[in-house]
Amino acid sequence: MDLIKLTTDPIDIASVARRVVPPECGATVTLDGYVRQFTRGRETLYLEYEAYEPMAIKEMEKLIEAAKQQFEIANVGIVHRLGKLDIGETSVVISVAAPHRKPAFAACEWLIRELKRTVPIWKKEVYAAVEHWVEGEKEL
């Protein structure tokens, strides 16, 4: 069973990873993205994430559909946190369950790259003295 969720609550990565497991599978690959304390030498105090929620849900559904076309995978879970996040807190979890691990790795890597490119969610980085919305992600 797939899982798509936007939440302001902390994300438990095990609950995402274990939720997508069907009986014919043997491997789940999970990407846990979280708030880095230091980015290019600068210390982040916290992050704020905001989404265009109904469109973000639709775009995540499209990504899962496209991933299932391209890779031999069974189920996908994508949960993205919104609101204020402290250092080290998980912002996104993507879990991909598959009969075999290779397509699970490939699909998970593809999904996070595409999510960063297409899903309407924005991150505001708050440093000690300044804050700014990140407009597009460098590391695609």
């Binding site: 993205g33 994430y49 905001e50 989404a51 265009y52 109904p54 469109m55 973000a56 639709k58 993205h80 912002s91 996104v92 996070i112 999510l115 960063k116 490119r117 297409t118 899903v119 309407p120 969610i121 924005w122 991150k123 505001k124 700014h132 919305w133 990140v134 407009e135 597009g136 992600e137």
Partner: protein, 80 residues
Amino acid sequence: MANVTVLFFGATADAAGSRQLEMEIAGDETVGSLIPRLVAENPRLGQKKLLFAVNEEYADPERFLTAGDKVAVFTPVSGG
């Protein structure tokens, strides 16, 4: 008189000083023809790379608008 709803998020909401507004549209209004009007009122929007969605789907500036459309105006996404 036909109206559309314009939605802002993140950096565009900061630049526009609001998250949502109503705009009147002409018969041949496109996403692209709406933008100079928005920038005129909120010059900071003009400094940003903007992306658009109409009714929760990505849209090009050439996209024609009809009454009741929800037009989202936002900067490149940065989730993940």
